[in-house]
């Protein structure tokens, strides 16, 4: 039986109330999620995988497909970076699936087919987007940031995949030119009337016919849409009961998270699902993909995830629109005049076991643990006689902390930057950046922290990421 073995999600800490997203008067209702200044599609995918693999051995995963329309790189695979940071084994299938809002569900179909073909037993699928509209546009207001992760396999599934239906259509309603950071949208009257509405309805109808089911057989219908009204009209037209049968699209608390949206809504549905439920999932974007799931008894084993609903409860409201612009790097703070220094990629690569995989060295002679990996043991002076131990899943406590109020480099648009020293339970101590820490005066020495992989704001165009710590959410 092929299906979903585990799920996870990630919603960034920050929310922006739509009512302040205006120059004058009153903006929209509800709030949208906003990624931090050091978050992007790569880092959010990693956080979702951490949620999805809680308590699991990530070394058994044989494939990783990352779906996004907002990869931080036009060239450079983020699946490879995520696999390295999460210490997946090297001989995995890794690919980025991008450029479409339905890329997440497409990736699920490809992963399921990979498992079915016997190419891999377990394949991780993520969908992550940092949704950027031009300032004060409807796209910016309706959008959201976040990620979902689904582990597909052929054993111990929490929801079996009963069927797929896909069709492709070259219909352009939203798009982002390769040279532009903002998503654009054509007249929504045209886009909804000739694109989203008819395509979504026809695809769902055709899929149900293919699967041999009717609306009454579906426990939950899960699908994306550009806004609440347009979204709701699809279910009504297909004669689903919007009150009981349709997954809440979370527009008022999350926003449209782009390529991550369909899978995040699916995770939200799985969080509430019961054994025996049928879940029909549809993703629109350059066509439509549809998937039918049947929830199994094992769903009860996956209840300790943050998920979408858990992460939505943990939030910090942005105090102003300017603060939002700072998180987006659209508002610049004068930095002190510094000589630019570009990270050395050769050195980063050489030290990847420490820097990306977060491995420490443990002396085979005296047991002393040191991070990063050190060749000479500082306690017993043994040379090159250590084993590598993983720190990532160890419990973390805050040893001390500070901030840099003045940006140390021009890329930092949202000071203060957090600084911390942390203790890994029973092993070693590490000095690193601290993120999403809220009010510095609320932090306490000894409080639990967790690790998160984030972008380093650095001079130049080099891909520099590192593990940071943050208060436990």
């Amino acid at each position: 039986m092929i299906g979903i073995c585990s799920y996870g999600a990630y919603v960034p800490l920050y929310r922006l109330a739509r009512e302040i997203m205006v120059l004058e008067g009153k903006g929209g209702a509800g709030e949208r999620s906003v990624a931090g200044a050091d978050e992007d599609a790569l880092t959010m995918a990693i956080d979702a995988i951490l949620d999805c693999t809680k308590g699991m051995d990530r070394g058994s995963i044989e494939g990783l497909l990352n779906a996004t329309t907002s990869s931080p790189f036009a060239e450079k695979q983020i699946a490879a970076a995520a696999a390295a940071a999460l210490d997946f084994k090297d001989n995995i299938i890794a690919a980025d699936i991008g450029h479409s809002l339905r890329a997440g569900l497409t990736a699920v179909r490809l992963a399921a087919d990979t498992v079915k073909a016997g190419s891999a037993k377990k394949v991780m699928v993520t969908a992550a987007d940092r949704r950027l509209g031009t300032p004060l546009s409807a796209m910016e207001s309706n959008g959201g940031d976040g990620a979902a992760a689904l582990l597909l396999g052929d054993k111990d599934v929490i929801a079996s995949i009963e069927g797929f239906y896909s069709f492709s259509s070259d219909f352009t309603d939203t798009w982002r030119p390769a040279t532009d950071q903002f998503v654009h949208v054509w007249s929504d009257r045209f886009a909804v009337a000739e694109g989203y509405q008819p395509m979504m309805q026809q695809a769902l109808a055709a899929a149900m016919k293919k699967f041999g089911i009717e609306p009454k057989d579906v426990t939950k219908l899960v699908y994306n849409g550009p806004d609440a009204r347009t979204h709701g009209a699809v279910a009504t037209a297909l004669k689903f009961d919007p009150k009981t049968q349709v997954q809440d699209p979370l527009f008022s608390v999350l926003g449209n998270t782009g390529a991550a949206f369909p899978l995040m809504l699916l995770v939200a549905a799985l969080e509430k699902a019961k054994a025996g439920d049928s879940i029909l999932v549809a993703a629109y974007g350059d066509g439509v993909d549809v998937m039918l799931l049947k929830v199994t008894d094992d769903i009860e084993k996956a209840r300790d995830r943050h998920g979408v609903l858990g992460y939505l409860k943990s939030k910090k409201m942005l105090p102003s629109y300017v603060k939002y612009l700072r998180l987006r790097h659209l508002f610049f703070v004068e930095s002190s005049r510094m000589t630019p220094i570009t990270p050395g990629l050769a050195q980063l690569w050489r030290e990847r076991d420490s820097m990306y995989k977060l491995h420490a060295s443990k002396c085979k002679q005296c047991g002393w643990v040191e991070f990063p990996i050190r060749r000479i043991c500082p306690k017993c002076y043994s040379k090159d006689d250590y084993q590598q131990v993983k720190l990532l899943d160890q419990k973390v406590k805050l040893y001390s902390f500070s901030t840099d109020t003045i940006p140390t480099i021009p890329e930092v648009t949202d000071p203060p930057q957090g600084r911390a020293i942390i203790d890994f339970e029973g092993s070693t101590r590490m000095e690193l950046e601290m993120t999403d820490f809220g009010n510095i005066q609320d932090l306490k020495v000894g409080q639990p922290m967790e690790m998160t992989f984030r972008r380093l704001e650095r001079q130049g165009d080099v891909a520099a990421y590192a593990w940071k710590c943050k208060p436990v959410r």
Binding site: I341, Y399, F401, I406, Q441, V445
Partner: protein
């Protein structure tokens, strides 16, 4: 370990004004301090047999920066670097060359020109590592303050007040020195209400970034009288370099960031050479590396001036003010005199030298006894700490 005690004499010193020296280039700084020292020692350029040059980041890297500025022709010139202990290092290795009998008259120079490049808070961006994660110098030391308050159960407001009192003391002293970067006394309220730089350190908890140069001319102790009647003797030198690199996130779990281990080690090397048993009683004044107020607080304890955790009570008792029993940073310290990284160590010796010779003006101590200079480069976790002790000729 041997001893340097009474083997080397400082016969002349020079120090430029410290500050935002827009009109002075590196050669100007070197010339200004060197010619003050020449005049003081009664020597000229042709008498200098070797030069030891201390600089961190504003030279052409070799000792040639000094031979070029001073037009010293074809003599040995060696550049040394040991972070904030760089100038102390120039004096230390220069003294060894004299003690070895190699040279009679040696010039030790330290200089730094930071302001041309707008350096703000001594930031240390990825220069050490592709993903240098420590941040600025203030943020590094601030973590020691947070942990110090936690360890000794000092409420936040009380901790801020203790730190601010150190800043108030150093500004008061600096106001009395004509060459200091900041020559204005500040109030406790000013320090407490200053903008935050790196939680919990505010503006007045941090030393400035400064241009400046300082130098010493040294000779064998037995030859000093042939130059001048006013000289001081080196009594002890200690240097201790740590072995952890926080810039890569390295931080050993057995490192206590509320105590400066390297400073303790360097001090005890020097104390042993001099035969000091009770530094609190035997040292007359100290110039210490107050890059941040929390640094100075922990230095009191690390130099053995008081027990661990005893610093705040001494601050309250004003033990280290000009009127206290062991005045610290009588010239204003890094906080008020300024901190041109490669020059500060010799600036400290300059103050001790003037105190020993009775030339310290309004700051003059009645009984300077032995003078101690302490420099400390790096960040909590790994320091390059230097302690130099000078004393009277007789």
């Amino acid at each position: 370990m041997g001893t340097i005690k009474d083997k080397v004499a400082i016969i002349g010193m020079g120090c430029t004004n410290f500050g935002d020296l827009w009109k002075k280039g590196v050669p100007d700084l070197i010339i200004d301090c060197a010619y003050e020292a020449y005049e003081d020692a009664g020597v000229g350029p042709k008498d200098i047999e070797a030069v030891f040059v201390g600089n961190v980041s504003s030279s052409m890297w070799t000792g040639a920066t000094v031979t070029e500025a001073l037009q010293l022709d074809k003599i040995p010139a060696t550049r040394v670097e040991n972070n904030c202990a760089t100038a102390a290092e120039a004096l230390r290795v220069g003294a060894f060359s004299v003690a070895a009998g190699m040279y009679d008259t040696v010039l030790c120079v330290g200089f730094e020109k930071l302001k041309d490049y707008g350096s703000g808070a001594l930031e240390m961006p990825g220069s050490m590592h592709p993903i240098s994660v420590v941040g600025s110098a203030p943020a590094s030391f601030a973590k020691s303050a947070v942990q110090y308050f936690e360890k000794y159960k000092i409420p936040f407001d009380k901790g801020k007040e203790i730190l601010s009192k150190i800043a108030v003391k150093n500004h008061a002293n600096g106001a009395l020195h004509p060459k200091a970067h900041f020559r204005r006394a500040i109030t406790l309220e000013t320090a407490l209400n200053a903008p935050m730089i790196a939680w919990p350190l505010g503006l007045f908890d941090c030393c400035p970034v400064t241009d400046g140069a300082s130098c010493a001319i040294i000779t064998r102790a037995d030859k000093a009288k042939s130059y001048t009647k006013d000289y001081v003797l080196l009594k002890g030198v200690g240097l201790s370099v740590g072995r952890i690199d926080p810039f890569k996130g390295k931080f050993r779990s057995d490192v206590d960031i509320t105590f400066w281990d390297e400073t303790w080690a360097a001090a005890h090397q020097a104390y042993e050479q001099v035969g000091i048993k009770d530094p609190r009683k035997e040292i007359g004044s100290a110039e210490v590396h107050d890059c941040f107020t929390i640094t100075e607080l922990i230095i009191y304890e690390s130099l053995g001036f008081c027990p661990r955790g005893g610093g705040p009570a001494e601050v309250e008792k004003e033990s280290f003010t000009l009127k206290g029993d062991l005045p610290v940073n009588t010239d204003g310290g890094l906080k008020s005199f300024g901190h041109p990284v490669g020059a500060s160590g010799l600036r400290m010796i300059y103050e001790l030298y003037n105190q020993q010779l009775g030339r310290a003006g309004e700051r003059q101590l009645k009984n300077p006894k032995l003078g101690l200079a302490h420099s400390q480069g790096g960040t909590p976790g790994m320091f390059q700490a230097s302690v130099t002790i000078v004393g009277p000729a007789s």
